[in-house]
């Protein structure tokens, strides 16, 4: 690229671990020729908190609060993944009302996580105001969560065998009120960013992920659906009661940053639809099966996975039988594989694109480092 006579050598830049744009603490060693990146090597482990080792010394109910910190943007889905696995192990039956409460909380948490993604994506591309708008709606959802489980971020609400508490009477009206105004708000977001020429120019054909590479690197979730593969665990490997709601799966085909943006905006609307249907159909009844504090599932192992806002979140549990603590808990997050594929996506782009690609893949580091 440079004139033949001039001697130029590569230039190594250290992006992270303390860097305003990397989500959490991830470090990239970028080997660059001028502004163009030749090789990017992620260095992780700055948030490795040994969650799996902790879960080996906890009973099943005690594991739930530890797993809240596994993926703190959507803690509900971490609880759900673990609870599903533990229930499959012991063959527990979850009452109807608990299933509905779980779906409502999961989908609200997916919207909240997408709003965090929407804020940080616009922040990374330089537009600071959409970050504030995204967090304004998220505060309403957090009020709903606070009403039921008292916490804003790490809920410890979905337990093995059901849910912790029933929703207060004013939850449903407040939730309806939020849902009614939410669609108009998503139109606002679309007006701010979707047709914004600078946003389009910064995201079109940047970091194109081909379907083959996506499946080879086990990328899942919105990033996989943006590459044209219609694969959503809620429809293809249905768990809990997702087969009772009708919602569709947004798919686009050219797999660049802009498509991943469009997919997540559409998913926010779909989740709102699911929550609206779940509120109408929610039956009465008790909210948790009778599970003792030191619940001892029979000997065996299971890998159960659910659709999280960042892809497939899987929990593998092996129980030794007569113990109240699991022998081994292996956690799998969606960002783990997306960060693994990122060096391939980043080659040949500029340093400003690394930020755009990372924001569009919605990578956060607790899922990667566990």
């Amino acid at each position: 690229m440079t004139a033949p006579g001039i001697h130029t050598e590569e230039f190594q830049v250290n992006m992270g671990p303390h860097h305003p744009s990397t989500h959490g603490v991830c470090r990239f060693i970028l080997t660059m020729d001028g502004e163009v990146i030749i090789k990017a090597e992620p260095v992780i482990g700055y948030l490795h908190r040994a969650l799996e080792k902790i879960c080996e010394n906890r009973t099943y109910q005690q594991c739930i609060p530890v797993l809240d910190r596994f993926e703190y943007c959507t803690s509900m889905s971490c609880n759900e993944a673990f609870a599903l696995a533990a229930e499959k192990l012991g063959g527990l039956e979850v009452p109807e009302r608990a299933e509905y409460l779980r779906v409502i909380m999961l989908e609200l948490n997916r919207i909240a996580s997408h709003l965090i993604w929407f804020g940080t994506t616009s922040l990374d591309l330089g537009a600071i105001t959409p970050f504030l708008y995204g967090f304004r709606e998220r505060e309403d959802i957090l009020d709903l969560f606070e009403m039921t489980c008292g916490q804003r971020l790490t809920y410890n609400y979905i337990r093995v065998g059901g849910v912790a508490k029933d929703i207060p009477p004013e939850f449903i009206p407040k939730c309806k009120e939020f849902l009614d105004k939410f669609d108009a708000k998503v139109d606002d977001y679309e007006r701010v960013l979707t047709e914004n020429p600078i946003f389009i120019v910064r995201n079109k054909d940047i970091g194109v992920l081909t379907p083959e590479m996506a499946i080879a690197y086990a990328v899942s979730g919105p990033s996989l659906r943006a590459s044209g593969v219609k694969f959503d665990l809620r429809k293809d490997d249905p768990y809990s009661i997702y087969d009772r709601f009708n919602f569709n799966i947004p798919v686009t085909h050219n797999g660049d940053c802009y498509d991943r943006y469009l997919i997540r905006i559409a998913e926010m609307r779909e989740s709102a639809r699911i929550v609206r249907q779940a509120i109408e159909q929610i039956p009465e009844g008790e909210i948790a099966a009778k599970v003792s504090m030191n619940y001892k599932p029979p000997e065996g192992e299971v890998y159960s996975r659910i659709e999280n806002s960042r892809g497939e979140m899987g929990v593998y549990i092996q129980s030794p039988g007569k113990e109240k603590k699991p022998l081994r808990v292996k956690l799998r997050g969606g960002s783990y594989n997306q960060l693994q594929v990122m060096p391939e996506l980043v080659k040949g782009h500029k340093i400003a694109d690394v930020v755009a690609i990372m924001a569009s893949l919605d990578i956060i580091l607790p899922e990667v480092d566990r």
């Binding site: 860097h19 502004e35 330089g126 600071i128 914004n196 120019v201 340093i351 400003a352």
Partner: protein
């Protein structure tokens, strides 16, 4: 309520004291410099506070509230705090370059006000090459950005410095061509003549269709790039280059860069007001008040840009300037030339 009278009265007093002519000149220029410097320092502090309030209300929050009514003392608190900060000069730094960069940036920002007319007769010295002088001075900021980038001996600062030099140079050219269109019509480069050529409201260059509005828009776009503001704030893009060229500066050196940026913003909008919106012309209110209203309106437009637009990538930014802005600016200049020659629009 014209305040030019006060200066005339002071000048006569000075002459009456019987000092020699050169001494009188020196003293009057020193007094003018101190007044302009004081006005601009206060204006910079006000602009910083105003930007935080405007950004707050655009983002549905309050902005500074705790220091005085609606936080009016906030920027004073920031300035005094920056005074107390330890002024770190890292050991590996290229000492003279690192030391002089903020000073050049600061001085360049203030010297441009020599030929800007604040009101009727309120001008430090009315050079007949007024606008050319201003454009020449404002390009000094490139040198200071490069010096800051190179001097801090930090990879991010170097990247930030290189980017800012490339950006300001490439947006200088369309800006000059846009200003040339106005100068062509006004017939003189002195700022006072330009303002006087826009006596009536329909004579403002922004309303001189078709070349006026195009020149105004090109000027505003180039001005946003000139002052490194979004959507062109590549040099200190927090997300990519941590803090761009001023990554190694702390305490008073950083404060100089920070204030210079806001003074530059006011300079650019003052020039735009003088060239396109008829400077201090305006009914009823005194002339200097009109000048302030027009400049602050344009400053608000710049702030508005910052809090709505994302950031462009470096190569897109260069492409936009060379491949789009410059051809349009030249076409506009030719159009202005034809309009002037054909005399159709010469009202």
């Amino acid at each position: 309520m014209e305040i030019t009278g006060i200066f005339k009265y002071l000048y006569e007093q000075l002459v009456a004291t019987g000092l020699s002519q050169t001494w009188v000149e020196i003293i009057s220029l020193v007094v003018a410099a101190v007044i302009v410097f004081g006005f601009l320092a206060v204006m910079a502090l006000f602009l910083v506070w105003w930007e935080r309030k405007v950004s707050g209300h655009i983002q549905q929050r309050f902005g500074p509230m705790m220091t005085g009514w609606h936080g009016w003392r906030q920027t004073i608190a920031d300035a005094v705090k920056l005074l107390q900060k330890e002024d770190i000069t890292p050991s590996t730094v290229d000492r003279p370059v690192f030391y002089w960069a903020p000073i050049i940036c600061f001085v360049a920002a203030f010297v441009a006000y020599v030929t800007i007319p604040f009101g009727k007769g309120l001008i430090v010295s009315d050079l007949n090459i007024g606008i050319l002088f201003i454009i020449a001075i404002t390009t000094f900021t490139i040198i200071s950005l490069l010096m800051a980038g190179w001097g801090s001996n930090n990879k991010y600062a170097l990247l930030g410095g290189m980017r800012s030099a490339a950006q300001v140079v490439s947006y200088e050219v369309p800006m000059v061509v846009a200003v040339l269109a106005v100068v062509l019509f006004a017939g003189s480069m002195s700022m006072v003549d330009i303002v006087q050529s826009q006596a009536k409201i329909y004579q403002w260059y922004i309303f001189r269709l078709p070349f006026g509005p195009i020149a105004f828009i090109i000027y505003i776009i180039a001005a946003t790039a000139e002052t490194n503001r979004t959507p062109f704030d590549i040099p200190e893009a927090e997300q990519e280059l941590v803090a761009g060229f001023n990554i190694e500066y702390s305490g008073m050196k950083f404060a100089m860069f920070f204030l210079a940026e806001f003074v530059n913003m006011f300079t650019v909008s003052a020039i735009a007001a003088t060239l396109f919106l008829g400077g201090w012309q305006g009914p009823w209110l005194p002339s200097w008040m009109w000048f302030l209203i027009k400049s602050l309106a344009l400053v608000f437009v710049f702030m508005w840009f910052r809090w709505t637009y994302p950031r462009l990538r470096v190569d897109q930014l260069m492409e936009f300037s060379w491949k789009f802005l410059l051809p349009v600016a030249f076409a506009n200049l030719i159009l202005a030339g034809w309009m002037k020659y054909s005399g159709w629009f010469n009202w």
